[in-house]
Amino acid sequence: MSAMPGALGGGARRRGRLSGLAFHGFLLFSLAIGIATLGALLVQVVVEGWRYVDAVLLFEPPSAEPALAGAEPAILATIFLGFLLILLTVPIGVGTAVYLEEYADKERWYNRWLEINIQNLAAVPSIVYGILGLAFLVRGLGLGRVLLAGAFILTLLVLPTVIIAAREAIRAVPGSIREGAYALGATKWQVVWRQVLPGATPGIATGSILALSRALGETAPLLLVGALTYVSFNPTLFGDFTALPVQIYQYISRPQEEFRGIAAGAIIVLLAILLTLNSLAIWLRNRYQRKW
């Protein structure tokens, strides 16, 4: 798609070339803004936070004394939340995706509604999920402000993302594979379980890990289910909890300057966790994704 010389006169052509250059410049500038921001953000976080990434941050509980303030309970809770999320979102998300792609009759109004509903849920602000958690889990069910409530809310939050990714992966498995299996006498579930799901696994894994990394960076819904408490002990399912992003927020909002540095240190830890997850997702995609 290279530009072709037009049948324009000399002046018009020069003007055309100039505006073409200006436009090209604007497009590059558009991308540069994003990249410059990303660069500045990373430099800022590393410069401010690097010297706080130490044994105190990783292995001590929070404290009012900057020199003693760590984030161990928050880091452990975030890892804990990660495992719970995988356990909860993958079965429900893949189940929904299989239902929609392989079983649902798309002409039925309720199945169409279901699809629109999932698209909508994917765009509901995360803080609204927090309100849901506050009303039903924390106060309604009387679960209290516990880790499990946080895990449930984050599950509901990322479920639409997982469903959408899993549907795409399932759709990418060609119909000929299903028909081949049917022709050999397989039942519907045998086709899904032995042919479709194995073929869709790399896509599902990539989508789920990306969704997980999004969930672990979420702060707002956890604030509403009460993760903003002083927690000096390591997390349990039914205990008070705080997560790494919430701990970061808490350190940012403290008045003393040092705590911003500690927040930056905790951000480095959080970004390292998320970056590891994202690299894993990309590696899985490149390593196992099949072209049919």
């Binding site: 798609m1 530009a3 072709m4 037009g6 505006s19 073409g20 090209h24 497009l27 590059l28 500038f29 558009s30 991308l31 994003g34 921001t37 990303l38 953000l41 976080v45 429900i92 189940g95 929904t96 299989v98 239902y99 929609l100 079983y103 279901l114 999932i118 909508n120 509901v124 602000p125 995360s126 803080i127 609204v128 927090g130 309100i131 849901l132 009303a135 509901l156 479920l159 639409p160 469903i163 050999l184 006498g185 519907k188 579930w189 045998q190 960076g217 702060t219 707002a220 604030l223 509403l224 970061i248 927020y249 940012i252 909002s253 911003r260 930056a264 959080l270 998320l274 994202n278 990309i282």
Partner: protein, 308 residues
């Protein structure tokens, strides 16, 4: 495996016998799908029942037109306009950043970039989209605000401008990816026809591709607005904590989301009017974003229908 059940593509043939196990599995899968339905019902119930109780005590008219929001004071006033103004202000500035530059990035990726440039820019934008919002909040507070002060903006430690600028950059990948999807759905023939008539790349981009993909591009803007309205952490950290009826971006403001987060953090007793404000404001927020999302979904479907 040995029975004679055949595939649905041959509808006149049936399974030799009913397989209950298969039915149970279908039921279980449908049950998974019901979780999403239950989530929506749960959100609506959780928001609207306390919100309705709230509006028994405060008239809807006062709520929607009142210019003073002092929900947590001893003599509270519940005019939501200052919070809405804060949200609108931040959203407006954020969209002014993400709409042109997101679109620019999309045009570049779709019409200009080849192999290596694409392989560099696309993942970089994805990284930008993957950074947690609390980190953006930290960046706005500790980097952008001092930077704005240095270049001569009269901003305090908290300002709508700082939060909104960072939010705008955060939303560039959202606009770029949805717009680029729409542009790549524009058939090649249209571009080639224009090139054959002697158009430049600028002309093809702005007069052929952008108009042809316009519904998708608008959808990306609407989606960005909806994200900006619903974004919490950046404004909670960097925009301030006082409701402020202003359209001056250098002032500190409180948005609807920041109010919800700030109020729910405190120990507000269940059943009090202050507790119910969380839900009233949450319901307002939910309705606003829902309308925008429906519009966006419609628009995206429109361009899919035209070209696919």
């Amino acid at each position: 495996m040995a029975t004679s059940e055949l595939s649905p593509p041959v509808p006149q043939l049936r399974a030799a016998r009913r397989r209950w196990g298969e039915d149970v599995i279908k039921g279980l899968l449908a049950l998974c799908a019901l979780v999403s339905v239950a989530t929506t019902v749960g959100i609506v119930v959780a928001l609207f029942i306390p919100a309705i109780e709230f509006f028994r005590e405060v008239s809807v008219w006062d709520y929607l037109t009142g210019t003073e929001w002092t929900a947590l004071f001893s003599e509270p006033s519940f005019g939501v306009l200052p919070l809405v103004a804060g949200t609108v202000l931040v959203t407006l500035v954020a969209v002014l950043v993400c709409a042109p530059f997101g679109l620019g990035a999309a045009i570049y990726l779709s019409e200009y970039a080849h192999g290596r440039a694409r392989n560099f820019f696309k993942p970089t934008l994805e990284v930008l989209a993957g950074i947690p919002t609390v980190v953006y909040g930290y960046f706005a507070l500790t980097f952008v605000t001092p930077l704005l002060q240095d270049v001569g903006f009269n901003v305090g430690p908290f300002s709508a401008l700082s939060a909104a600028l960072v939010m705008g950059v955060m939303l560039i990948p959202t606009v770029a990816s949805v717009s680029e999807d729409a542009m790549s759905a524009v058939p090649r023939d249209l571009r080639q026809g224009a090139y054959a008539l002697g158009s430049t790349r600028l002309q093809v981009s702005t007069r052929i591709v952008v108009p042809a993909a316009i519904s998708g591009i608008i959808a990306s803007f609407v989606l960005a607005i909806s994200r900006a309205v619903g974004e919490t952490m950046i404004v909670l950290i960097a925009a301030g904590g006082q409701p402020n009826l202003t359209l001056n971006p250098t002032e500190a403001v409180q948005t609807m989301t920041a109010f919800i987060a700030a109020t729910a953090q405190g120990d507000v007793a269940t059943g009090t009017i202050a507790y119910k404000t969380i839900f009233a404001v949450g319901a307002t927020l939910f309705v606003m974003t829902l309308v925008m999302n429906m519009v966006s979904i419609r628009l995206v479907r429109r361009f899919r229908e035209v070209y696919e």
